[in-house]
């Protein structure tokens, strides 16, 4: 393995990531943030978190029960627990344990 090449790849990945994270701050560096962007800043958090849930679930498929049931059941349990008790730790611990049990025991690959 060419260590110089590895360092170059790491440097590029680090620079690209930093650049992408800095884009909005670079564009609106100077004066006031324009009104449409302020509007977007108000509504984007909800939209992006909603998108990230699907990003986490992107591997779900309906080819077999094991490929969807653990995640989808755990999503329902997490949401249900949170709507019921509204305790962050309980909802996350309950949903995660549910997904682990379903993945490892109930829908385990033969």
């Amino acid at each position: 393995m060419n260590k110089l090449y590895v360092i170059a790849v790491i440097a590029i990945c680090a620079a690209v990531t930093l650049f992408e994270r800095a884009v909005p701050f670079l564009i609106f560096r100077g004066g006031r943030v324009p009104e449409p962007v302020r509007y977007l800043g108000g509504v984007l958090p909800m939209a992006i978190i909603s998108t990230l849930i699907f990003y986490c679930l992107r591997g779900v498929s309906f080819s077999s029960a094991a490929a969807w049931a653990p995640q989808i059941i755990s999503v329902a349990l997490t949401a249900g627990l949170h709507l019921w008790k509204r305790s962050t730790m309980l909802s996350i611990a309950g949903g995660t344990l549910c997904c682990m049990v379903l993945t490892q025991f109930v829908f385990a690959a033969a």
């Binding site: 393995m1 060419n2 090449y5 590895v6 170059a8 790849v9 790491i10 440097a11 590029i12 990945c13 680090a14 690209v16 990531t17 930093l18 992408e20 994270r21 800095a22 884009v23 909005p24 701050f25 609106f28 943030v33 962007v37 302020r38 509007y39 977007l40 800043g41 108000g42 509504v43 958090p45 909800m46 939209a47 992006i48 978190i49 909603s50 998108t51 990230l52 849930i53 699907f54 990003y55 986490c56 992107r58 591997g59 653990p70 995640q71 755990s74 999503v75 997490t78 949401a79 949170h82 709507l83 962050t88 730790m89 909802s91 996350i92 949903g95 995660t96 997904c99 682990m100 490892q104």
Partner: protein
């Protein structure tokens, strides 16, 4: 400042849990491709973007031009260009800490920053809660990936399914956002529909950028209805 630290610590625990399997898997992957824990730690510290770090491992063997590496890196994490928008004005007064917050800004930090309700404290406390959230996530990620590289192969505990902790965290944050929404809940619905449609069209590897672009477009199309319930700028 101690209050802000305790607040960030408590909020970041689910992320620590979700990083256990991913960080350790990453450290093991790096070692099996011939790079020891120093390289793992360097990647986690300098790149600090999980999916890109996994992709980079496949580049290390060589044979890919650096131009291709740049384009792939730009595309894989392109969603990050949206993450700063809600924080442009808030972070303006944070001086050098603003640079740290921009650098330490993965999905996980974005989600905690969005759920940052630390407003009973001073402005100073609020700043430190952002900083500690980002810092703790960075520490978890570097430490767990280095641990994975050092002792990952000794771990026998079956962690399958534990990565759901991150999904669960996002679900909880979304429910809290929906409950707190003074205005419309339409942004969450638009994003969900756009995600499902784009998943069906583009597949799991390429859906997120088109989905976010369509979401942004629709947020402007439905702006009249979304803004009706009272806009929030803070």
């Amino acid at each position: 400042m101690r209050k802000a630290f305790r607040y960030a610590l408590k909020k970041s625990i689910p992320i620590l849990i979700s990083f256990i399997p991913v960080g350790i898997a990453y450290g093991i992957l790096m070692r099996t491709s011939g790079l020891n824990w120093v390289w793992t730690g360097a990647c986690s510290l300098f790149i600090f973007a999980g999916s890109l770090q996994f992709l980079a491992v496949s580049f290390f063997a060589g044979g890919v031009s650096l131009v291709t590496v740049t384009v792939m890196a730009l595309l894989l994490n392109s969603r990050h260009i949206f993450y700063g928008i809600p924080f442009i004005e808030q972070w303006k007064k944070y001086g050098p800490w603003k640079l740290f917050l921009i650098y330490a800004f993965p999905d996980e930090a974005f989600s905690l920053h969005c759920a940052n309700t630390f407003d009973d404290g001073s402005e100073e406390d609020k700043k430190w809660s952002y900083v500690f959230e980002a810092l703790l996530i960075l520490v978890y990620w570097v430490v767990l990936s280095v641990l994975g590289a050092l002792i990952g192969s000794l771990i026998r505990f079956n962690t399958a399914g534990i990565d759901f902790a991150l999904t669960a965290l996002f679900i909880v944050i979304l429910i809290e956002q929906l409950k707190a929404a003074e205005g419309s809940r339409l942004p969450a619905i638009i994003a969900a529909v756009s995600s499902v449609v784009c998943l069906l069209i583009f597949g799991q590897d390429g859906f997120i950028l088109p989905s976010l672009l369509i979401t942004v477009a629709l947020l402007f199309v439905f702006r009249g209805r979304i803004a009706k319930g009272g806009e929030r700028h803070e």
